[in-house]
Subunit: 186 residues, 2 copies
């Protein structure tokens, strides 16, 4: 797997392909010129069009205020090649370190938002805050994906799925029931 | 894998272990004596205590009104042993068939809710509707897990993670970074 996967434009209405399986993601943000990254496992697809994703971002995270105020972020999809980086990002706070510099990650310019893309990730989804109605009560942000970038290979990258306690499940093997797929049933 | 895993009581505050990895789940409901099951991939853990899980249940589903009116459901975790059943449940409507009978599944009594447990699943989480604030706008139900049942073995069952188009990723292999786990960072 290349250290820097080359990403291409991807339809925002189809990001469920990467997010519905429930991988750990790296959420990047930028505010007042400073960038940060957090690991996040509590997210769900909510709609195809507009392309909506709901995320719980605990108020204790350094990124919480950055995202709430900038009303933007990027949801990046790491693969197992970045396992130790994912753990390190989750174990540190952007209040204390610059995570891009500390962990050797590259901040690329996004197209629609100020928050940076993480070059080393398999996919990056640029997001705008769509609805903050449940932020006060549940720290629940509803984002609209406005631009998507995905590496075309591998077709099914090995992703990390967090169980807590420092243990991840790995998904990558595929079972196809495409022949039984009924598009009207999703 | 036994066809009927034996489940034991499990702490409701720890259901993230099974749901945070993002598996396809089978949601069972009961209203006016009739039970139904739907497949669901759009869910996220939202809080440990109370144990909250958010789920998008499209209004077109037969279960939507059943769950909205009964204000209860059970979130059941199938493994790859049930792959074809998961697909069949997703391809049919409870308006037309009795899915328990049609697919040879066993409805066990739950402890706290009227909705049935699916005996053949690895885990079953009894839920009460906790907050319906976003149901009208996004079909987003926030449930509180009030009782949890989990088969103790296998420790990491193979679960199905849906990508759309009839294709599932399988998670089961585990990567542990437990030695680096910092409980205060989750």
């Amino acid at each position: 797997m290349p250290r820097h996967p080359t990403k291409r434009d991807f339809p925002v209405a189809e990001v469920r392909r990467y997010l519905e399986p429930g991988p750990i993601v790296l959420v990047s943000a930028r505010r007042r010129g400073k960038a940060n990254i957090m690991t996040l496992g509590w997210h769900t697809v909510m709609e195809f069009t507009p392309s909506l994703v709901g995320c719980v971002i605990a108020a204790g995270n350094h990124s919480f205020a950055m995202i709430r105020e900038s009303r933007e972020c990027v949801i990046n999809l790491p693969t197992t090649a970045l396992t130790d980086t994912v753990v390190a990002i989750g174990n540190t706070s952007g209040a204390e370190i610059d995570k891009f510099a500390a962990f050797g990650l590259t901040a690329d310019d996004a197209r629609e938002v100020e928050a940076p893309l993480i070059r080393e990730c398999h996919a990056s989804f640029e997001c705008r805050l769509h609805d903050d109605a449940l932020v006060d009560r549940y720290n629940f942000f509803i984002f609209r994906v406005v631009c998507a970038h995905v590496a075309p290979t591998p077709e099914h990258p090995q992703t990390l799925h967090y169980t807590g306690d420092g243990v991840f499940m790995v998904a990558g093997k595929v079972i196809s029931r495409r022949s039984k797929f009924r598009p009207e049933m999703l």
